[in-house]
Symmetry: C3
């Protein structure tokens, strides 16, 4: 058994963007000597999250609308007096900073419609993710 | 130290259902050679999640009402033009696809009131979960 | 490779409180023989969660307001007939019970603004957390 770490960096172009990073992760796993196990993808930011869902363009838009409906961008947040991104932090608070996913045969073992997304909530920015891979 | 994988399948009967799978997981752990460690329960679907909470029938109803209040079933979602389950995806987006739980003495090490639930958000269906167990 | 477990207890003073436990975790990691790896912090309660975000006092207040706006304390919940804390359970349902975080050089490998919080949702109480540390 082994534990290995990799770093993934990824840029965003919009303030709120839901970016499919499945291939980026699978490219790292393809060259990794751990073939079977689990990978944790951790976003090193407090205004960006990781989720697993389907990659369908209308649905991606629905996710963005849901974020805006539930946690609106401007709502007299106290933190906005310091840095105008309270909504980005609150959205991350509910979404979560990481996901753990099984690995099989040197790739993510996802369901048919599952993809891994980096949820940018205060872009555009370059973001850093740590992949911790455990297995054999 | 070892890493082992198991598959759990579970059916649902309703569109939205919150199903206690604690015993299903403990039954697998009871026969597993890893006695101490951690287990990750991963739902291989983009319209089903995993949560930990109390199993009390009125509370289960409260959870369902909260899902409907926060993310209503019908709300002119774009994805509904393709597949009429945008709400199921958005709810999964916020709930998350997996949980990791400590193992002690061949069983889940949960608090007094904690139980593990599979949250069906687009049933009835048969669902598949991967248990990744790490420990010794 | 090794797997080790530690228990952390922490008290809260208010019904809803967002408490920074980064130092408590780092103090445990500092004395741990696992230097590189990952730690899972698991709350053994169904009315308390773990999140990662920024520690800024106005933002902490924004988080509490968002919890109250999205899932109000009193709203004719069925569970309140049994135990007057349905909101605490529903909030935990959406926040989640654990987080997994990379470890580097005997400490949490967090981003510049990231801190680990225990979210008390039905205090004041003493709460128990299990740290499962995997690495070498």
């Amino acid at each position: 058994m082994e534990i290995l770490k990799y770093e993934l960096t990824k840029g965003s172009k919009d303030r709120v963007e839901i970016i499919d990073i499945t291939k980026d992760i699978d490219d790292i796993l393809a060259t990794c000597k751990i073939k079977e196990g689990i990978v944790n993808i951790f976003a090193m930011h407090s205004t960006a999250g990781i989720v697993i869902n389907e990659n369908e363009s209308r649905l991606i838009k629905d996710f963005k609308n849901a974020l805006e409906n539930l946690i609106p961008e401007n709502k007299n947040y106290g933190h906005d007096l310091i840095d105008n991104n309270a909504d980005s932090h609150i959205r991350t608070f509910f979404i979560g900073s990481s996901e753990s996913i099984p690995i099989e045969n040197n790739r993510l073992s996802l369901g048919t419609w599952q993809r891994v997304f980096f949820v940018e909530l205060d872009g555009p920015r370059n973001r850093k993710f740590v992949l911790t891979i455990i297995g054999k």
